[in-house]
């Protein structure tokens, strides 16, 4: 009787591992099934199998999906999945080259992609914050240990000033990374389903008002990056039209292009 809690604990532990193993196996199995489907030429089946993998991401998964969409001439979705793959494996040169080709297919020029694609390193972001905090606390510790009142040593003041300047610079860098991260969370890829094979998709209109009848400020090619505009409540600025369509206010990275876009006309990079 005394051993019952212990046995229950072991049972719970083994069950949880069992669930984990099954979960892991099913994801891998679906992935392999999709690779096999692609190998046999059933690209549509391969896409469907990949999309069956829920709440799990890996760089090869998104890269393979992007390749499939490219082969199916759905270049905006190819761009979207290459962006996702690059989020997980930012240094992969093959993904970068393929993304560049997909962007070419979308008809996005080199100049406009340079202006509109964020460069962001999650590692740098993490280390900038850690460096900032270490610099701050190390300065405090040294200040406490070496300060002698009354302060007469001029070099002491010089070191304190240097520390403060360094702290401000480091904070500026961290803040920039933070803003970039926030932008990335709001990034979407303009999407238009392919109509004609091997041709760039139609352009997406950025409308003056949230409605189909409204005129467009400008238009951008599908596959372009846009950023959700935030309201005062830090939520994306959205509007639901009387016919039930949901519209979001967006702008390009440079801020030059701005307008309302329908929900089905974009796909978020981070969902």
């Amino acid at each position: 009787m005394k051993n019952i809690p212990f046995l229950l604990l072991i049972l719970a532990f083994t069950q949880s591992w069992g669930v984990l193993i099954c979960y892991g196996t099913s994801k891998d199995q679906l992935f392999y099934d999709a690779v096999r489907a692609e190998a046999t030429g059933d690209l549509q089946q391969a896409v469907e199998t990949y999309t069956e993998i829920k709440e799990a991401h890996s760089a090869p998964l998104h890269a393979n999906l992007a390749n499939l969409f490219y082969k199916l001439n759905d270049y905006p979705l190819s761009v979207l999945h290459f962006r996702k793959a690059l989020l997980l494996d930012p240094e992969n040169r093959e993904y970068k080259a393929n993304l560049s080709l997909a962007l070419d297919k979308c008809g996005i020029s080199q100049d406009s992609r340079n202006q509109n694609i964020l460069s962001f390193s999650p590692t740098l972001y993490k280390y900038s914050l850690i460096s900032l905090s270490i610099l701050f606390w190390a300065g405090i510790i040294l200040l406490i240990w070496f300060t002698r009142f009354p302060i007469k040593n001029k070099s002491f003041l010089f070191w304190v000033a240097s520390w403060l300047i360094l702290l401000i610079l480091m904070y500026g860098f961290y803040n920039q990374q933070r803003n970039t991260s926030s932008m990335l969370q709001r990034e979407v890829i303009a999407y238009q389903p392919p109509k004609d094979t091997n041709k760039p998709s139609d352009r997406i209109s950025l409308r003056v008002f949230a409605g189909n009848a409204s005129s467009a400020n400008t238009s951008i090619p599908a596959g372009s990056s846009l950023f959700l505009d935030l309201g005062k409540n830090k939520q994306p600025r959205a509007h639901t039209s009387p016919d039930g369509e949901k519209w979001f206010l967006m702008r390009s990275l440079s801020g030059l292009n701005k307008g309302w876009v329908k929900e089905e006309e974009f796909r978020p990079v981070i969902d």
Binding site: T40, H57, L101, I141
Partner: protein, 598 residues
């Protein structure tokens, strides 16, 4: 005659001697010293050339049974004998006897100052070794044996012969005596033999307290795969080197390895070569008789099986056919079995994987994974795979066949590559980048993550743990700082109290000089505390007063302090005690002043 004159004469003779005296008569002597020795001892053969300091030339005749050291030691000397200056040149050889008996170095010729002189003959009597010599020789032999036993390699092979291409698991062990101060193993054992190949020697297994030759050893053993490569008889040895720490100076482990306390002195490291025993190994050729046609070089005791991953597929669907060979054998040199499945299947090149002891690759299982694609529909049979091997124990060939596998192949849908259709319908464009080469499908899922969302590091637990740790460090630093400051002020207070006690004692004993010296110290200490100056004892009285002024003390306090310090200085340094002072009133005055300086 003054002493300095003799000195001068002596020095002049030494300097001019070789020139002046070289024209004198030259006489040559030779002798053994001692003239009688035992076999285990050495003697010296000495040639003395009187009347010259020039180096002679000539060669000592060889005497069978005697070994002369080369080059000889030389000595030039000059002396006065009964007031007559004399010079000579000595040549000394160390002579080691090789057998007992009476030896004569015959008379031989030597050339001195371009003139030939005769060296007289000399006799050496070598007696058989006595008991002491025998004991010494035994001790030397024991030392050499001990040194050989201090570190040695032992190489073993499970069989006295191998067949060409056969792999066996061999072992080489490095025995290190626990008393030998080994610092590291410089080089893992390396083979000194052609005709065999061995696998890489990885990390050794270590065994402590192994008893052998009445000694305790640490043993490092490497297991490896040994494969016969060239037929014939081969002598195999292994060689390694270790670093041992020895004492500086005369004691060396090579002369006496059992020196005392090597690590606690300033020793140095030396390399010691360790060589294994020699093993004779014969590599035999494989017999030609009854050799099966499917034999591809597999040698050992092996089993084979094959297994497809599915039994029902569509045309074009890949089937993973796994063929596993397991047992013991030459897995490193084993080729994949040849599959001939005819026109019904397309077979890709196999993928290899070995599981088992990867260091020796002698025992385990080798898996060959083939991708087999059925090319037509129906009930197809994956034929059996033939595999032949040679068993070195039984010295004969064996042929094995796996079982055949029936596969149901459905017709499936015919797929037309979308790229082909688009290209045919699309207008011809200028050739672009090589897209097909870039878009490769990853066959490995990689690392799974649950979300693509960027986690703000400020919300991570590790970041806040780091902050807490750093904050606690700050608290610790503050505590240490306060403690240090408190102890410093307490120390000063204690010092003040001690000084006050000393002042009172001086007052009691009417020690005017001592009283004023301590009083001066006390005032300086108080000023130091009040003005936060750490070294007031190093300041002069005017400087102390200036310090008080700068700390905005009243003029009255400054004047009082100046007066008291001046009085103290006068009595302490002027050495005058004629001026009678009222110590009691000075003490009261000083206490009142010290109260004001706070």
């Amino acid at each position: 005659m003054p002493l300095s004159y003799y000195r001068f004469l002596l020095i002049a003779c030494f300097l001019a001697g070789p020139t002046i005296l070289s024209f004198g008569n030259i006489r040559v002597e030779s002798s053994f010293n001692p003239a009688t020795i035992t076999l285990s001892n050495a003697s010296t053969y000495q040639i003395i050339v009187h009347g010259s300091q020039q180096a002679p030339s000539g060669s000592v005749p060889s005497v069978k049974g005697l070994k002369f050291s080369s080059p000889p030691r030389t000595l030039r000397s000059a002396s006065f004998i009964n007031g007559v200056p004399s010079v000579r040149f000595e040549l000394t050889f160390t002579v080691t006897p090789e057998k007992p008996g009476s030896f004569i170095v015959p008379s031989w010729e030597i050339e001195v100052e371009n003139k030939t002189h005769k060296v007289p003959s000399a006799n050496l009597q070598v007696l058989p070794p006595n008991q002491k010599d025998k004991l010494r020789q035994a001790e030397q032999r024991q030392q050499q044996e001990d040194l050989r036993q201090a570190a040695f390699l032992e190489f073993s092979c499970p069989r006295p012969f191998l067949f060409k291409g056969e792999t066996v698991e061999a072992k080489v062990s490095l025995f290190l005596w626990d008393r030998l101060p080994v610092t590291r193993i410089d080089q893992v054992p390396a083979k000194n033999a052609d005709g065999i190949s061995i696998t890489e020697l990885g990390q050794p297994s270590e065994e402590r307290n192994v008893r052998k030759f009445n000694k305790t050893y640490s043993v490092y053993s490497w297991n490896f795969g040994l494969t016969g490569a060239i037929t014939g008889n081969h002598k195999i040895t292994f060689e390694s080197s270790i670093r041992v720490r020895i004492r500086n100076g005369r004691n060396s482990p090579f002369n006496n390895p059992f020196f005392n306390d090597p690590f606690f002195g300033f020793g140095r490291e030396e390399s010691l070569q360790v060589v294994s025993n020699t093993l004779d190994l014969e590599i035999k050729p494989l017999p030609n008789k009854d050799r099966p046609t499917s034999f591809q070089g597999a040698i050992g005791d092996l089993k084979i099986n094959s297994n497809p991953d599915k039994n029902q597929v569509s045309v074009g669907d890949p089937i993973r056919l796994t063929c596993t060979i397991h047992g013991s054998g030459n897995f490193a040199a084993m080729p994949a079995p040849n599959l001939s499945f005819g026109d019904k299947f397309k077979v890709g090149p196999p993928a290899f994987s070995f599981s088992g002891n990867s260091m020796t690759k002698q025992e385990g299982s080798q898996t060959f994974e083939y991708i087999v694609t059925p090319l037509e529909a129906g009930i197809l049979e994956i034929p059996s795979i033939s595999f032949a091997y040679f068993n070195p124990e039984k010295e004969q060939y064996f042929s094995l066949n796996t079982s055949a596998h029936r596969i149901r192949v459905d017709p499936g849908k015919e797929w037309i590559a979308p790229a082909d259709t688009t290209l045919s319908s699309a207008p011809k464009q200028a050739p672009q980048k090589q897209v097909q080469d870039l878009f490769q499908t990853d066959s490995d899922p990689g690392v799974w993550v649950t979300s693509l969302s960027l986690v703000d590091p400020i919300h991570s637990a590790s970041f806040w743990i780091l902050q807490v740790v750093l904050f606690l460090t700050v608290l610790v630093v503050i505590y240490l700082r306060i403690r240090k400051r408190k102890s410093a002020s307490e120390l000063l207070k204690k010092k003040e109290k001690v000084l006050l006690i000393k002042i009172r004692e001086a007052l009691k004993h009417k020690d005017s000089i001592g009283f004023h010296r301590i009083l001066s110290k006390s005032i300086r200490l108080r000023v130091g505390i009040a003005c936060k100056h750490a070294k007031t004892h190093a300041l002069s009285s005017p400087e102390v007063v200036e310090l008080l002024k700068s700390a905005s003390f009243s003029k009255e306090v400054v004047d009082e302090a100046l007066e008291l310090l001046r009085l103290c200085d006068e009595l302490e340094y002027a050495g005058s005690v004629t001026q009678k002072t009222d110590l009691d009133s000075t003490f009261r005055k000083s206490q009142s002043l010290l109260k004001k300086i706070k």
